[in-house]
């Protein structure tokens, strides 16, 4: 199995997501948490980039962080899956290692 990439920074404030998309191999998974979840929303300045990345990666967003920030799940880019904390733990177990793009 490959790498679980975790992004916790807003794509509008930091380049963590860009670094992740540049350096993650195909078939990796990307988990958006904390301010990283803003990248999961439709219709933003980065949503085309994220939607294009869906061809290469499985992308997840952490639902408690979506709820805290008022981002409704029905406004996420098609194909992005949500996970709760248990799902986060499961992902961490399913992959050999994780890479946090701080």
């Amino acid at each position: 199995m490959s790498v679980l990439h975790i992004v916790n920074k807003s794509p509008f404030e930091r380049n963590s997501l860009d670094a992740c998309l540049r350096l993650a191999q195909a078939d990796s998974a990307i988990l958006l948490i904390e301010d990283g979840i803003y990248a999961a929303q439709q219709g933003t300045a980065v949503s085309d980039r994220v939607a294009a990345a869906m061809a290469k990666y499985q992308i997840y967003a952490l639902s408690p962080d979506l709820q805290a920030r008022g981002i409704s799940e029905d406004r996420l880019i098609d194909g992005i899956k949500t996970v709760d904390y248990d799902g986060f733990v499961q992902l961490a177990c399913d992959f050999d290692k994780s890479q946090s793009w701080l």
């Binding site: 916790n8 807003s10 404030e13 803003y38 709820q67 805290a68 008022g70």
Partner: protein, 134 residues
């Protein structure tokens, strides 16, 4: 003492760091001193005003309903940069309604949120005496 024009510039998303909460606390404390206060929400700061924030699952304080108290302190100038909303796929309808009661005029509840262009906001910044950044 003549009142000064204070602008609080908010550019950080609400729950990833402590900036947003700290700013709101400073604004509410400062409001007691009866200065001319404006708030600006720019870049990820616009996320602070989103409706339906629920931090229960995070176990952290949800301070977003506190923005509604601003009207009670006669803070009626809340400027949101249109370009920042647009880049985030957001519109005014995504923001919480914030109002104040106009005691000097008709006692009506009036909208505190003003969506402004970058150009207009630049002019507002220019007019201030004190600029505080969060």
């Amino acid at each position: 003492m003549a009142s000064k024009r204070f602008l609080y510039m908010n550019r950080k998303a609400p729950h990833g760091s402590v900036y947003a909460l700290e700013s709101l606390e400073v604004v509410l404390i400062g409001a007691a001193f009866e200065q001319d206060v404006s708030l600006a929400f720019v870049d990820d700061g616009v996320y602070q005003l989103l409706l339906n924030q629920d931090t229960a699952a995070l176990g952290s304080k949800n301070f977003s309903p506190t923005f509604k108290a601003l009207g009670d302190y006669d803070i009626s100038k809340i400027y949101v940069e249109a370009e920042s909303l647009e880049a985030r796929g957001l519109t005014r309808d995504d923001l919480m309604p914030l109002t104040w009661e106009d005691e000097d005029d008709d006692w009506a509840e009036k909208d505190s949120i003003h969506i402004v262009s970058s150009e207009a906001l630049a002019e507002i910044i220019e007019q201030q005496d004190v600029l505080l950044n969060f």
